[in-house]
């Protein structure tokens, strides 16, 4: 299913080529290049302020890069003729603080973009929403407002909302960092299921358990640069760079 040995370029659904991004004086991303293959789970970790969120946000163009090239599913993001909204609807994003729409019920959170972006009928959108709510394990919450959900339930709705667009790629920005410990597992389980089904995922997280279970590749990002990349869990067992070793020993203890 996952073909991590292939070098064929057409397998790369995300290509970042020498991208840089600054906010004023702050250099958030410095000359980063990386590729993600179709069906791959790419796990990004690193210290706070290292540029992880910025990197993810560049992939669906929530940030515009200063230089470099981004190709998502064969389409150049940096090309001015590209329809960014179309790419965004192919790339789901899950945020640390859920960002559910508080004025809409759970069901409407999941159906709105299907209707206005994907132009699905109400009926079809509802079917998709109900199926997904079952899949993330909270079919009974369809008719409540987001503020009546626990953190873990909110994040599962957020995942369902993104999946409803049938994205080819899912981006996760610290999806469990705002959750109480007892709720982390229920969200990670949904993510593990997705990984098993072959979804291409880029996950920024500190959940090393998830990385061990699902990551095809791990990237250590610090000070806007990729310090080390490893296949599977080799970074855990055999970190090459001292910075990686120090960081891992801090996180794992």
């Amino acid at each position: 299913m996952k073909n991590s040995s292939s070098l064929s370029n057409s397998d790369d659904i995300i290509i970042l080529d020498n991208i840089s991004k600054s906010f004023g004086e702050v250099k958030a991303i410095i000359d980063v290049s990386m590729n993600v293959k179709r069906g791959e789970v790419c796990f990004i970790f690193g210290p706070s302020g290292g540029g992880k969120s910025t990197l993810l946000r560049c992939i669906n163009h929530l940030e515009t890069i200063d230089s470099g090239k981004i190709v998502v599913d064969g389409i150049h993001l940096t090309d001015s003729k590209t329809d960014i909204n179309r790419i965004r609807s192919e790339v789901g994003m899950v945020f640390q603080l859920f960002n559910l729409f508080p004025h809409l019920k759970v069901l409407e959170n999941i159906t709105l973009a299907q209707k206005v972006v994907r132009k699905r009928s109400r009926k079809e959108a509802l079917e998709v929403a109900h199926t997904l709510l079952k899949r993330v394990g909270i079919p009974e919450k369809a008719d409540v407002f987001p503020n009546q959900l626990s953190g873990g339930q909110k994040q599962r709705v957020a995942i369902a909302r993104a999946l409803a667009m049938n994205p080819k790629i899912m981006l996760f920005d610290e999806p469990t960092s705002a959750l109480d410990p007892e709720m982390i597992q229920e969200v990670l389980e949904v993510m593990l299921d997705l990984a098993k089904e072959g979804m291409t995922m880029v996950v920024v997280s500190h959940e090393m358990g998830f990385a061990k279970a699902a990551a095809d590749r791990m990237i250590f990002l610090s000070d806007g640069k990729i310090v080390e990349t490893g296949i599977g869990k080799e970074i855990f067992t055999n970190p090459k760079k001292d910075r990686t070793k120090v960081f891992l020993s801090q996180v794992l203890n």
Partner: protein, 287 residues
């Protein structure tokens, strides 16, 4: 009525009903008494009765001017408020120019300006357009109508409404802008990351949430426009204030004329203020 325990603690030895009395909204009682006294005077006293019968004709105009100009101001304000946040440089600058210029000029000056400079200019431009249509034979009937439009055909009340709408549009633009900015950035990002366009995320995500935020300030601004509609009396629009002035000039009964006008305004504004307060409370509760 439950009393605040803090008050009793601060003043040991005072009976509970003292706390109750100090918390009672006496000012409402005074306002009610004034209202009752004036109503009684209107019924019982010939001069107050005459004053009321005359100035009450202005209430309808006051309400009409306020309602129409506020409705237009809301549309202008939404347009300019969105403009102030737009990434389109031209749209943004036009919006900021409108808001800053209008807010920097007294409304009374704007009223004169719109009534005696802008309106005639617009009419003469319409005349030019009509002449051109006649000369080139396009829609000749409409053209001759436009060519013969005269500034005297544009009633003062319409000029007054236009001017107030422009003035308040600038205030509402700031209200809308602040309301939209109060919605977390994550909401836009979530909407955009689902593939919604800028317009769609405004329409479905940001504005429905911002509306709740801006309702109370908009309510207060409606009260303001109701009071500021008295300014259009300088254009001899026969609204409440102007009617009061006319009655005063006719009868020299200043006390009765202006007293009636003031109480009528007060009844309108206090009722509205009460509605805004309860709306505020309900919105806060829902959150």
């Amino acid at each position: 009525m439950a009393i605040n325990p803090d008050i009793r603690r601060q003043r040991p030895g005072l009976a509970p009903w003292v706390g109750d009395l100090s918390r009672f909204p006496w000012w409402i009682l005074v306002v009610l008494l004034i209202g009752i006294a004036v109503t009684y005077a209107i019924i019982d006293n010939r001069f107050w009765g005459e004053a009321y019968d005359f100035v009450k004709l202005g209430i309808k105009i006051t309400v009409k001017v306020s309602l129409i100009s506020f409705t237009v101001a809301l549309s202008l304000g939404l347009l300019a408020g969105l403009g102030g946040l737009s990434s389109n440089m031209i749209y943004r600058n036009f919006s900021m120019l409108y808001v800053q210029v209008i807010r920097g000029i007294p409304i009374i000056v704007q009223l004169y300006f719109v009534a005696f400079v802008i309106a005639p200019t617009v009419v003469s431009q319409i005349n030019n357009l009509g002449d051109w249509m006649l000369a080139s034979g396009i829609l000749v009937n409409l053209g001759s109508g436009l060519a013969n439009l005269h500034i005297r055909d544009v009633p003062m009340i319409n000029r007054a409404i236009a001017s107030l709408a422009i003035a308040y549009g600038a205030f509402e633009a700031e209200v809308f802008r602040a309301g939209i900015q109060s919605i977390e950035r994550g909401q836009t990002e979530a909407a955009r990351s689902l593939g919604m366009s800028h317009f769609q995320s405004m329409r479905y995500i940001i504005l429905p949430q911002a509306i709740r935020v801006v309702m109370p300030p908009l309510g207060n601004d409606f009260i303001s426009i109701l009071k500021d509609s008295s300014l259009v009396s300088i254009l001899a629009v026969r609204e409440l204030t102007h009617m009061g002035q006319l009655h005063r000039a006719r009868t020299f009964r200043s006390w009765e004329a202006l007293g009636t006008v003031a109480v009528l305004y007060l009844m309108l504004t206090l009722t509205l203020a009460f509605l805004v307060k309860s709306m505020e409370r309900r919105l806060a509760f829902e959150k």
